[in-house]
Amino acid sequence: MASVMKSLTRPLTPEEREKAFTSRKKEEVVKSQRLPVRYHVEDFDVEDRPRRFLEAFASILKHTNYRLALDHYVRVTSRCARCSVACPVYDATQDPRDIPCYRSELLLSIYRRHFTISGILRARVLGDPGLTDEKIQELADSYYNCTACRRCHFECPMGIDHALITHLGRYILSEIGIAPRALVVSVREQLTGATGNTSAIPLPALIDTLEFLTEDIQDEKGVNVPFPVDQEGAEYIFFTAVSDYMMEADTLKGIAAVMKATGDSWTIGSKYYDGINYGLFYSDQIMEHVLQKIQAEAKRLKAKKILMGECGHASRTAKYFYPTYCGGKDAIPVVSILEYTQQALKEGRIKLDPKIVTERVTYHDPCNFARTGWIIKQPREVLKSFCPDYAEMAPNGRSNLCCGGGGGTVSIDEVRAFRTTVGGRLKAEQIRRTGANYCVAPCANCKKQLRELMEDQGVNCEVIGLHDLVYKAIILPPDPKSEEETEDSTGNSVSLSEGGTL
């Protein structure tokens, strides 16, 4: 496989390094928080930080299963550095501290020192003072350098999942108040705010948007495509990254068009309509509470299945953790819109016109879809069915490269320079090499990151969702009332391809 990883070995220039790693925090904030990380952290108690960290760690170990993994990893870790070749961050920085195994070792060494008998005894003998503020700072910086893409997991002969350790490390840090402010503020609004979603979109605004989208589709396709709200007993209840309602109109129109074409009943819940779950990035407690909100809404509307929109982390949390927190095998099944559309296409329930999208198209695998092997073929099948000029990136599928904004870092605007010069450097090169006009990234996080990446790295490629393209090409059956307008609707959809996206 012609991988970009081997051919792009230019080290970061000093200017790039400076740009990527400089903290934008004010000096007095750094001073008062005693934490020079690049991203902003809300005010928290800085006294006695090591003790508080260890208390949080102990409490988490007591109530969860992490001890199993930590015990095992501590025993088998061999520090062979094979994972270094899998990490896009390390590839850019060439800093040994960015090797996944080194990052994991930061937490494993704390575990070994404070929570294993041999570690405690050894510390007694050697007089090791234990956890210090400096070490916590190193953790706080290091664990948000990682994009939690889990690529290294496949390269560890010992089977260590460094992303699980990153997940745990961030969880412990958040319990002592160290978490990016961008994520904390969103979660606060989602769990306790008036609007109940991360982007603080009030319900009337949502309804307005949906009506506007329906009118838009009517204009463009000549068909009435509704966005049903609060329909009890619908087959599917739909959740997507709530930011899509502001940013990704075409994706939503595509999804609604697909649902219209298949005729399955679906609904958006008015009490809760956000799929975003930042808990995956820094706190199990938050993950659980957000999923419970999804469950409550699905139950309220008596939906039979949960349909997740184009969002990697939201889909992964729903698919893999909804059963964890909401009933195991009896939990409501979770379906991704990507699976749904592919299935509908296979069954011949939607028709896509292969003459509309003639530009070159490539597909970016969001880590949260592809790493587990869950969604890789489905969107490709859809794309290949109507995009004649489809190009593949390398590597792709399960061993794809992260967009550079994974693990919640995309929401942290302070680290944009880091994301686009370090995290996404290989990705930009990958996309550039395909020569594609459209890069399809069915994930709200990937879209935001890739757009910033294309801009900062100067790659001329438009980043869109899968359903943006589907919307362009879909042939909708005309409404029964307005049969005369059939001709019009096809005509309109052709003209859309010239300048249709936002």
């Binding site: 299963n65 550095a81 080194y102 008036a194 407690q285 659980e288």
Partner: protein, 258 residues
Amino acid sequence: MTAWIDFARGPLFRLCFALMVLGLLRIFLVTLLGVKEAYQRNSDKIVSWKEIRRQTLGWLFPIGRLWRQRPIYSALSFLFHVGMIVTPLFLASHILLWRNSVGFGWPALSQTAANWLALLVIITGTGIFMGRVLHAGARKLSKFQDFLWPLLIMTPFVTGYIASNAVISPRTYQGMMLVHIYAGDLIMLMIPFTKLAHCVLAPLSQLVTGIAWKFPAGAGDRVTETLGFADRPTWVPNARLATEPEVAEPAKKGESGK
């Protein structure tokens, strides 16, 4: 010196061997019990056994996947492991020792094959040692024991090879055997307590990881409760500030309202 050698391959060997077997058995069972306990603790019983099996077998027989990354290092490491496991287990003189004391044996390698395998271990061992020393990343990651292990493991191979091949005086031969046996005993003794435990634990890694990604329901709330912050989870403003900030900020209703 003969007495020392006899002690090392008699009582000391038995002790080290027993400790190795019992130690490995212990950690293997402890890990399995941990997996079972974690599995029972979770309300979510959906585990992708197929994926766990696929990954486990993939790494147990890593012929296909080693070459993807760092191919030279990986090949060296693979051959090193093969030689290291096969040579001592199937060496004719080792089996003879075993047969004499326990009463049964198993087919042995020819002396030529054993020689080549021992050489292979020495060469690849040197290679992965150098790999660790020369690769900047690996060097930074490594602890003292990581450098020590390849050398320690090669010791019985080097001494054994010399003892059985080189023309040396009986005294040197005995010296070689002394080092050979004591090093072997030491390695066995250390296996369960060091990273070498991966010889039995590595096949469980994927299972452990798969189960560890399943979180027990309600754990997050219990964690905050234990910490005494049940009423102040992290999403509450100033959740974990011991003292209120000096300048009382007016509630920012304008930001979050509507």
